[in-house]
């Protein structure tokens, strides 16, 4: 029973009191089931608690017992435990960031032989008049490994020895959304679970108070929307939960107007009691599940605001990420918006805080890197936005001893053409850009057992085709699953008569990439 009036306590104290009493009361009688669920979350009970009420236990759609987010072991000992996946939506230019091509610069302005473009589809380029576009970027080697990166990425350069750069990526889709779906879900269509959904499905989550799969967006949001963090046909518990950048981080996290923490706690207590009274008469494990989900919701109400409260971070940390850095005035374009720089920096820091709190998968989204024109200025904006915070994230994870077990991925949906774009109606454009290019692009990873300082694969002299060690998106997926302890051929769910896997369209583990 909560002691009233509650007015003498601060909201935090009221909440703590309500929580304590809430949980104390749930330890009696019919609350046992819910409590055992909680204890299991805490690792205090190794096995599923015996219960006369629900011998079969709650089941999810795929027939597995236990709470959907209960941690469970993969197929073999994993290297990585958490993943932070940055999706620069729109597809960054590999030629201006990661893959230097002096020959392309030398051939600037020349046409390609027809034999090379005859069978190629472009989104906007008109083949007849298209010419090669050299890069204005200066590349230089970084780190002991000597990885060459563009002058747009000075901060990431200082992390070169921790970065595993793949210059030989290729994909099958050349429009944004299908290609994003391929990157995030393994097929260029709707309906399949995303990588984060597969991992939270396979591993559960280490977090008791937060969702296992969290999405943070900066700027205007991306073109793919929720389909890029969908759970597909898996239960919705495995869908990425979009944390908002303003106000409460989770939808409906705040209690309604007037509802103080004490009243909220008291109401939840009554809900729990009534549900337990009903459970006594109707021993359906779904009721026990609902009781447990209300308890987690209540914990989230307390944990999520703490998560986004950056006042606990040192100024040095905030500065390292650039949380307070000024927004640029000299560059802009389709990736820009009010406070995007600060927001992205903050999202990177939040990603670390989420991982520290046991969250399994964090997707960072920023759009758009779709630089059909005005490449230098607009890519300059996007790269500068991402460079410092991502480098800070690598360093921060490393100094906290989390980089080994945390995988950071930077992957767009495809690359961009060595040809300059000459879209119909814009033939006289002077500030050129590049068109969609699925045949070759670059992706990098850090931590999670990927080889730091490795530059893997090669493209031809103009960055058009992969000529050495091709890595398909499917291969990337297989390798990432491997680092999380999964045989990608065995992480499968039966759906519509098929054994569906993230990699059922293909894929092999690229052992060269990993330690």
């Amino acid at each position: 029973m909560v002691n009233f009036p509650a007015g003498e306590l601060s909201p935090q104290e009221q909440l703590a009191l309500a929580r304590r009493q809430f949980f104390t009361s749930s330890a009696s009688g019919l609350g046992l089931l819910a409590l055992s669920w909680l204890l299991k979350q805490d690792g205090l009970l190794a096995e599923e608690a015996p219960s006369t009420l629900a011998p079969s236990g709650p089941k999810d759609q795929t027939g597995r017992s236990a709470s959907p987010m209960a941690p469970r072991p993969p197929h073999f000992a994993p290297k990585a435990k958490a993943c932070i996946f940055f999706l620069p939506e729109g597809a960054p230019s590999h030629l201006d960031l990661f893959d230097p091509k002096p020959k392309l610069n030398a051939l600037h302005g020349q046409k390609l032989p027809e034999s090379m473009t005859a069978n190629v589809r472009f989104a906007f380029i008109q083949k007849e008049t298209a010419v090669l576009l050299g890069s204005n970027r200066k590349f230089r080697p970084y780190g002991e490994c000597g990885m060459e990166l563009s002058d747009f990425l000075p901060h990431l350069g200082t992390c070169a020895d921790d970065i595993c750069l793949i210059r030989s990526m290729h994909t099958d889709a050349f429009n944004h959304h299908p290609a994003q779906l391929l990157l995030m879900t393994g097929v260029p269509r709707f309906g399949r679970p995303s990588l984060g959904a597969w991992l939270t499905y396979g591993l559960g989550s280490e977090s008791e108070n937060l969702p296992g799969y969290v999405v943070l967006t900066a700027g205007r949001g991306g073109s793919g929307g929720v389909s890029n963090w969908t759970s597909g046909f898996l239960p919705s518990s495995y869908q990425g939960v979009l944390f908002r950048d303003r106000g409460d981080p989770v939808l409906n996290l705040a209690s309604p107007p007037g509802v103080t923490p004490a009243l909220q706690g008291r109401t939840l207590q009554a809900i729990s009691q009534l549900n337990r009274q009903h459970l006594a008469a109707v021993p359906d494990p779904e009721i026990a599940s609902r009781i447990a989900s209300y308890e987690l919701a209540f914990r989230m109400q307390a944990a999520a605001p703490e998560l986004v409260d950056l006042s606990q971070e040192t100024q040095a940390t905030l500065d390292m990420y650039g949380c307070d850095r000024p927004e640029p005035t000299d560059v802009g374009g389709r990736g820009s918006g009010p406070n995007v720089f600060k927001q992205f920096a903050r999202n990177c820091l939040l990603a670390r805080r989420l991982v520290e709190r046991g969250v399994r998968f964090v997707t960072l989204v920023h759009a758009s890197w779709d630089h059909h024109s005005n490449l230098d200025e607009e890519l300059g904006y996007c790269a500068r936005m991402a460079d410092q915070p991502l480098a800070a994230l690598i360093k921060d994870l490393k100094q906290r001893g989390l980089l080994d077990s945390t995988l950071l991925v930077f992957a767009g949906e495809f690359g961009r053409t060595p040809l300059g774009e000459n879209r119909k109606g814009r033939e006289n454009e002077t500030r050129l850009g590049r068109d969609h290019h699925p045949f070759a692009f670059s992706v990098w990873l850090a931590g999670g057992g990927f080889r730091g300082g490795l530059v893997y694969g090669k493209t031809d002299d103009i960055g058009w085709s992969v000529v050495e060690n091709p890595v398909h998106i499917h291969d990337l997926h297989a390798t990432i699953l491997h680092q999380f302890g999964f045989d990608h051929r065995r992480l499968a769910v039966k759906y519509k008569g098929l054994n569906v896997r993230l990699t059922d369209q293909g894929g092999r583990v690229v052992h060269d990439l990993i330690t």
């Binding site: 709650p58 472009f122 969702p211 919701a297 989230m300 759009a367 103009i462």
Partner: protein, 860 residues
């Protein structure tokens, strides 16, 4: 050859090398002569095929759609065509493959497996050239028993049962017979209060009012339940409830999907057609024909042409740079797969890329189905109401008159007043030299004319000058702009007066097999047609069309259509299909738990003239349906999946109904049927995640704020969060079953979402308003709690529940007294009536608790 894998191209600058390699691959090796000796299949060929081929082309796997262990399938061949052409080894893929003659295919067996020896190849070639004789003992696919679902349903007799008194409907006999055989007893009947709530939730998706519950409980007539069922089936809300399930299948949404995700402001006409058709109990055959081919039905009314808008519910990609043909192909594939799922109950989509591995559907047959949908074009219909049509005609008339008026004013000005203005302008330029005139941006030819006195100019020059001046004369420009602006505002029908529809293409498109599912790799041409394992299609004309296809489906002899349909109805009421895999009646699907029941129901649907309401009425009045839902200790061990249907399955209601229940109990629900989709409140930042602001969410006002969940505008890339939290499908593809998750986000939604909070406030007010306070406060709490339970749960509270609510009420009152400002916020803007603030706040608090109960969200 188009190969988009990049590394096939050689590196710069020697990229020509790649094509040389391809050319080299085309050179064929000399073929040795065939071995002349007579080859025996059983001793020579079969062991050879088993050794080299069956692993990938046998009973387990059929790579490339090819199966070599069964004569019929071997001769039929795979995706590339005939593997074995008797007497023609050079034309047989089998021979080309084992000899490595085809560059694209490579040598078989692949990947480092030992190739056939020259001797083996000779034997194989000789066998083919001798006509590929098969052993007489080799089983052919035709002689194997057909898969159960491909055999037309029989008319099974009702099984005999011992406990006859339990039976209420014929279906019960099938259920009870199996239970008796397995030694399981049915559950007792549900209590009447549970039954009425169950019937309301299942049939109309709304809660019964306390009055409806009481009058049903007081109705002692034996047919009370049947009359209740008839009332619910006749309710206009029936079509909303059952229509929403159909909309899941139809992947209905209010926007395009993909990057642009443009709104579809008039998509709702299809949704309304579904609701109306179900309310009218349109026979399922007509319901099917109109949706698949309404445009082709002779003398089709407008309804049928809206119904065929089913095909417009596909995603639609308007992203810049998209290949429109690729998008059209994707939609056509989706239409084909949707047909497979809804009507055939087969996962035909697998055959898009390769012949079906498990079911007798070849890739060729898939594209023959595809060809039906390849012959349609999208078209929007104008469907104004008579009033809208009249208003448009009137507006057009007025618009034309106004245009005439504006033009007349312009012409009058030019004729009567402009000459003077021109003269004045010329005068103002007097004395300026040519360079000064040029500085005023006057073109050189005009400057030249101006340089001469008016009387020396030709008529043509004067005319040119006057035409030039007309452009810069402020008044003429103004009048001209008025005409243009007016013309741009041509009257149009309101956006909702259109409907999405399709028409047959003027000339049929050529359909080719997409090799490996890639539309850029066209294979053989195919014509529209249905799979061979199913009954033959009878076409009206030379080339079968969608109407023939639809009528073929509804032939009572079709083995799948009726079974698939009744199985879905059964699933929706009983929580588990007789065939649990609702969308897979093929070999990979689960077999029926009660095959005779499925057949009996399928035949009954046809006997009842395809009336879905007749089937539903029978099912909900069955003893099977009316069992209690309470989990039973014996069944948890014995039958955890409820295969024996020995109890009613207790399930949370669907997303839309969660909303409907809260609004209905609160007394807020607007019960208007149909109309444009609405936008109830959602978090402001939520819609901003879509691209280009395509999903601007302007909250609906007034009554539209409180519409049923199925009317919520469904924006595919940022769907209404509450619906998604409660497992509504994302409407990107045909969905036969929804997930039922149970997550903390659901808890947060029901506790804190503005819609549910408003509902709690309104319910709190309702409780206080409808039950007057008593002298004895404890008695007041008791009576009000009872009323609240009747509203929300259709039953009175237990003593323990009364006590729990009373304590929450008391604590909330204490809280409200100590925190009056918050209490004021809690009860909301509506001023409390005569009741004190604390009392109202306490009931809002109780209302919140009740709207969050597991039982509240659950069909029991």
């Amino acid at each position: 050859m188009l190969d988009r894998r990049p590394w096939r191209w050689a590196s710069w600058p020697g990229w020509l090398a790649g094509s040389l390699l391809v050319a080299a691959g085309l050179c064929q090796a000399d073929e040795p002569p065939a071995a002349p000796a007579k080859v025996d299949f059983t001793t020579q060929i079969q062991p050879l095929l088993r050794k080299h081929c069956y692993a990938c082309h046998g009973p387990e796997q059929q790579e490339g759609g090819l199966r070599l262990d069964v004569k019929e399938r071997a001769l039929q061949g795979g995706d590339r065509g005939a593997a074995i052409v008797p007497h023609k080894s050079a034309e047989s893929w089998l021979i080309r493959a084992v000899t490595g003659q085809d560059e694209a295919l490579g040598r078989m067996p692949p990947d480092g497996k030992a190739p056939l020896t020259p001797e083996e190849i000779d034997i194989l070639r000789a066998w083919v050239d001798q006509g590929a004789p098969w052993s007489a003992t080799e089983a052919t696919a035709a002689s194997a028993p057909r898969h159960w679902s491909l055999v037309p349903p029989a008319d099974p007799p009702l099984p005999a049962v011992r406990h006859r008194v339990w039976l209420q409907q014929p279906v019960d006999a099938f259920i009870l017979a199996r239970q008796e055989a397995e030694g399981v007893r049915p559950s007792p009947p549900a209590s009447r209060d549970k039954l009425i709530r169950r019937l309301f939730l299942d049939l109309i998706g709304l809660p019964p009012t306390p009055q409806e519950v009481r009058s049903y409980l007081d109705d002692a007539h034996p047919d009370a339940t049947e009359r209740l069922v008839d009332r619910l089936l006749a309710s206009p809300h029936f079509g909303e409830r059952w229509g929403r399930w159909w909309l899941d299948l139809a992947r209905y949404a209010d926007s395009d999907g993909y990057e642009k995700d443009r709104p579809r402001p008039f998509a709702f006409h299809y949704r309304d057609w579904v609701i109306a058709a179900l309310n009218a109990d349109m026979p399922y055959d007509q319901f099917t024909v109109e949706q698949l081919a309404g445009d082709l039905v002779p003398e089709a009314d407008i309804g049928a042409r809206v119904a065929v808008g089913l095909h417009r519910n596909t995603l639609h990609n308007t992203e810049g740079g998209i290949d429109p043909e690729e998008d059209r192909v994707k939609k056509t594939v989706d239409r084909t797969n949707t047909l497979g799922t809804i009507w055939l109950g087969l996962t035909v989509g697998c055959a898009q890329c390769h012949s079906h591995k498990y079911d007798p559907l070849s890739q060729r047959e898939y594209y023959r189905l595809y060809a039906f949908f390849n012959d349609l074009d999208e078209q929007d219909l104008e469907i104004p109401t008579p009033e809208e049509a009249a208003a448009l005609a009137q507006a057009r008339q007025e618009h034309a008159e106004k245009r005439q008026e504006l033009r007349a004013a312009l012409e009058a000005y030019i004729r009567d007043e402009m000459p003077a203005a021109l003269a004045g302008w010329e005068a103002s330029l007097a004395g300026l030299d040519a360079s000064a005139l040029a500085q005023r941006k006057i073109p050189p030819d005009i400057v030249a004319i101006l340089a001469r006195p008016p009387q020396t100019r030709t008529a043509a020059e004067q005319d040119q000058l006057s035409r030039y001046y007309r452009r810069i004369d402020p008044k003429a420009a103004r009048l001209e702009k008025a005409v243009r602006d007016h013309e741009a505002k041509a009257p149009q029908l309101p956006p909702h007066a259109k409907a999405q529809s399709v028409v047959a293409t003027a000339r049929p498109r050529v359909t080719r097999i997409h090799q490996r599912g890639d539309f850029l790799s066209p294979g053989d041409e195919v014509s529209p047609g249905t799979p061979e394992v199913l009954p033959p299609l009878v076409a009206r004309g030379e080339r079968p069309d969608r109407l023939d296809l639809a009528r073929w489906l509804m032939d009572p002899a079709h083995p799948l259509t009726a079974r698939v349909a009744v199985n879905r109805l059964w699933y929706q009421l009983l929580g588990r299909g007789i065939v649990p895999t609702l969308d897979d009646f093929g070999k990979q699907g689960d077999p029926p738990s009660h095959p005779e029941l499925l057949d009996w129901l399928a035949r009954e649907l046809v006997r009842r003239g395809w009336s879905q309401k007749a089937i539903l009425r029978m099912l909900v009045t069955s003893a099977t349906y009316q069992q209690a839902s309470t989990p039973r200790q014996d069944l948890i061990q014995r039958d955890p999946e409820n295969v024996l249907f020995a109890r009613y399955p207790r399930r949370r209601v669907e997303a839309e109904i969660v909303r409907d229940l809260a609004l209905a109990c609160a007394g807020l629900l607007t019960d208007r049927i149909g109309g444009p989709s609405v936008r109830p409140p959602q978090p402001a930042e939520y819609a901003s995640i879509t691209y280009a602001n395509s999903a601007r969410w302007e909250e609906s006002r007034g009554a539209d704020r409180y519409r049923r969940g199925l009317y919520t505008f469904f924006q595919r890339t940022s769907p209404y969060p509450m619906l998604m939290t409660f497992d509504a499908p994302d409407s990107t593809e045909c969905t036969v079953r929804r997930q039922t998750s149970n997550t903390p986000l659901q808890a947060l939604t029901l506790l804190n979402d503005v819609v549910f909070f408003e509902a709690a406030q309104a319910l709190g007010r309702r409780i206080v308003a409808e039950v007057p306070a008593e002298q004895d406060p404890a008695q007041s709490v008791k009576l009000r709690t009872e009323h609240a339970f009747w509203i929300c749960l259709a039953r009175p509270p237990t003593a323990a529940e009364l006590d729990t609510v009373a304590r929450l009420h008391a604590d909330s009152r204490t809280w409200a007294a100590s925190a009056p400002e918050q209490a004021q916020q809690l009860v909301g803007p509506q001023p409390p009536s005569s009741d004190r603030l604390e009392e109202l706040a306490a009931w809002v608090s109780v209302a919140r608790a009740l709207l969050n109960l597991d039982e509240f969200l659950t069909r029991e």
